[in-house]
């Protein structure tokens, strides 16, 4: 073996060993302690990084969970109770059961109900359309239907239903992360309590105009008549600014408010006998 090779190996070994020694001491000196539970917690989380919990991704949420004294304020909407209980086991805390929630678009102004009165010709995002004017129909509160919610959804839980006028949230896929709630410039989307079999009774309208104006713009607008409020035995319905609102935490799904509504603004979904289905319709036509 040539002497050069031996020298090379020897020199490199000396450099390697001394570097290892230096690195060992430096690592000891600058060591940052990280709770191993953070890694464990992160593994237990769904890893969607959707921000639905209010933190910047799953890692940040895991850190917050480890720091917290109890889990009552923290919730991963994607994983739900199952994930939160496994997080609780890792951290030795008690899991607080949260009721699952689901997003709902409170507008039923599809083109059959809400005729178009103008045409929008600008950049096709809801945010811009809403900042420019009240919308293609006479209802200034309703859906502008360019799908900012659809593009914000990371879970494919929104069906754009292009041309129909209002997107549809698919309850089975929705994880209630709240991204669409932020994205909607008209503040139409609400996170409601999820009932078994995706049942819901909800006022599908946000129109706060006076009854006559609202009705003129849309067949199924809430006119704030107050009949449902009187009918409700559970104080779940309140009317503010000519608009009824059903509190899903108080609602018992008795459905008594549905038939009394003169404009069919209250929608029941998921019930077997009186199920209302909105089928795919042809594209909206403009009336001048």
């Amino acid at each position: 073996m040539s002497i050069t090779v031996i020298y090379t190996i020897a020199t490199l070994s000396v450099i390697g060993t001394s570097a290892a020694v230096i690195l060992y001491f430096v690592a000891q000196k600058f060591k940052v302690y990280e709770d191993p539970r953070i890694d464990d917690t992160e593994k237990a989380l769904p890893g969607a990084n959707c921000g639905g919990c209010g933190f910047a991704g799953c890692r940040a949420f895991a850190e917050a969970c480890v720091k917290a004294d109890n889990l009552s304020e923290l919730n991963c909407p994607v994983g739900g109770n199952e994930t939160m209980s496994s997080v609780a086991t890792i951290l030795g805390l008690e899991a607080v059961k949260k009721e699952p929630r689901v997003a709902y678009i409170r507008c039923n102004g599809i083109c059959d109900h809400r005729p178009k009165t103008s045409n929008f010709d600008g950049a096709t995002t809801c945010a811009i359309a809403a900042s420019v004017y009240s919308g293609e129909t006479d209802c200034q509160w309703g859906c502008v239907s360019y799908g900012d919610c659809y593009y914000s959804c990371e879970f494919d839980a929104i069906d754009l239903r292009a041309g129909l006028g209002v997107p549809l949230i698919l309850d089975d896929k929705c994880v209630a992360c709240g991204a669409c709630v932020e994205a909607c410039p008209k503040d139409l989307i609400e996170l409601r309590k999820q009932f078994p079999k995706n049942r819901k009774v909800v006022v599908a309208c946000r129109n706060q105009d006076k009854g006559g104006v609202a009705r003129k713009a849309c067949n199924v607008a809430c006119i704030g008549c107050g009949k449902c409020e009187k009918e409700c035995k559970f104080d779940a319905i309140v009317i503010t600014n000519n608009l009824a609102f059903i509190d899903s935490d108080k609602c018992k799904l008795c459905r008594k408010c549905v038939p009394v509504c003169p404009t069919n603004a209250i929608i029941e979904e998921g019930f077997p006998p009186r199920k209302i289905v909105t089928e795919e319709k042809e594209e909206c036509s403009t009336t001048k």
């Binding site: 010709d121 600008g122 950049a123 811009i128 900042s131 004017y133 009240s134 105009d209």
Partner: protein, 443 residues
């Protein structure tokens, strides 16, 4: 060599179809709808109730703060209701509906058309009268004039610029006003000079209005301190900052007001309104509006009472052409399409443009080809393609660093883009968001 601003600018086809048409007086409509928010700033507060009888020129809504103005009835009659109705912003806004009965003016208004040159009011008195008369910038921005006339502490105006540029295609209302009311505008300019205590005033007029330049130059000789500056035809020369640059060569610093370089800009329409308010005691309740369009039978200029529905104006020029695609309140570059012909004329409506369907529709947009035409035409020296992307991707902190707030929304970038990209839409969106962020930061 004619003066103009240095960077950017476009020259769209002028299409001044109604040029040279005498200002006609539009018959008073049967009802008017006068919105209480016709200016930048806080909306005025209505001071009349349903059933009240009002006279022409009577205050019907009082100013609700410093940056706000009074609103006067433009007709005499009975208040029908105070209700919401859409205005040119596209959203329903509060306003006063008046059923017209006759045309009885307030007694103190001098209705004669004689020229009154002399005045003996001092500065603050003039400002107060302007405030009472509800005068706002008539060029379209509708910023209350009295606010401009009181400079912030430590700043002093040196020159008053009167904006007779009218760089928007199609519009001719200012041009016609200059031809017919030259002396009145010059007296109004003197009043504004007195109000701000400045010695110099310059009237900037683009070179496509040679008759107005000639007339005003001749007449200005008998008024002390007023000069007329002919300018090269280039859009958006009527922008405040561009006009200052063109006439004085000074550049308003980023984020600053024109007063920072000692200049204040007012429209010729504003100067005329100031003249009427002070010499004739007539508050601002009517204005000149151009009604025009390629298919319109008889494009013309009208003197219109505030609150008149757009449909009345369209009727006056011979009805709505069959192939109408869009009705725009204002000019084609910066105006807004309106959603209904019931939308009223307000203090800022300089024109009604009726566009045929072939021109009204936007073309489908394609990818950015990095030709940088938008950069070269931006009169503020911004990079529109970048600002659009930042708006699309909602990166607002960077948009702020790229000076999105300096955008004057002139639309030169969208006009010039060979890929038809909706640059201004996204920039305006970004601007609104960044503006909101800055406001919350200040709190």
């Amino acid at each position: 060599m004619l003066k103009t601003f240095k960077i950017g600018g476009v020259h769209p086809p002028e299409n001044k179809l109604s040029a040279g048409k005498k200002i006609e007086i539009l018959p008073i409509p049967k009802t008017v709808f006068i919105p209480v928010a016709q200016h930048i700033g806080s909306p005025s507060t209505a001071v009349v109730n349903k059933g009240d009888v009002v006279k022409t020129g009577q205050i019907i809504a009082k100013s609700s703060g410093f940056v706000s103005t009074n609103i006067h009835s433009s007709v005499s009659g009975k208040v029908k209701k105070i209700d919401l109705s859409p205005d040119s912003s596209g959203y329903p806004k509060q306003g006063i509906f008046i059923d017209v009965e006759g045309d009885e003016w307030m007694e103190e208004i001098n209705r004669s058309s004689d020229l009154v040159k002399e005045f003996n009011l001092d500065g603050p008195q003039i400002v107060q009268k302007i405030q009472e008369a509800g005068i706002v910038g008539m060029g379209g921005a509708t910023f209350p004039t009295h606010v401009k006339l009181v400079p912030p502490k430590g700043m002093k105006a040196e020159i008053l610029l009167i904006n007779g540029v009218e760089c928007e295609p199609y519009l001719t209302s200012d041009h016609q006003l200059m031809l017919e009311k030259a002396d009145e505008i010059l007296v109004g300019t003197q009043l504004l000079m007195k109000a701000m205590n400045v010695e110099k005033a310059a009237i900037g007029i683009e070179n496509n209005k040679t008759n107005a330049i000639q007339l005003l130059t001749d007449k200005a000789k008998s008024y002390k301190g007023i000069s007329v500056v002919p300018l090269k035809v280039k859009y958006p020369q009527g922008g405040e900052k561009q006009l200052i640059k063109a006439v004085t060569g000074r550049e308003v610093p980023s984020g600053g007001l024109p007063i920072a370089v000692g200049a204040v800009v007012d429209n010729v329409g504003t100067a005329f309104a100031v003249y009427e308010a002070i010499q004739k005691n007539k508050p601002l309740f009517e204005r000149v509006v151009t009604v025009t369009g390629k298919e319109v039978k008889n494009p013309s200029n009208y003197k219109v009472r505030i609150g008149t529905a757009t449909s009345e104006l369209i009727e006056a020029v011979g009805g709505l052409p069959e192939n109408t695609g869009k009705i725009i309140s204002g000019g084609p570059m910066m105006g807004r399409a309106i959603t209904s012909p019931d939308i009223p004329v307000t203090k800022g409506t300089s024109g009604i443009l009726i566009m045929p369907e072939t021109e009204a529709k936007r073309k489908t947009y394609m990818e950015c080809i990095r030709c940088s035409r938008c950069v070269s035409v931006c009169p503020m020296g911004l990079e529109p393609f970048l600002l659009m992307t930042l708006g699309q991707k909602q990166i607002f902190d960077r948009a702020e660093n790229e000076k999105v707030m300096d955008c004057i929304e002139c639309g030169s970038c969208s006009y010039t883009c060979p890929s038809n990209r909706p640059l201004l839409d996204y920039i305006r969106f970004g601007k609104a968001k960044v503006g909101a962020i800055i406001r919350t930061r200040k709190k």
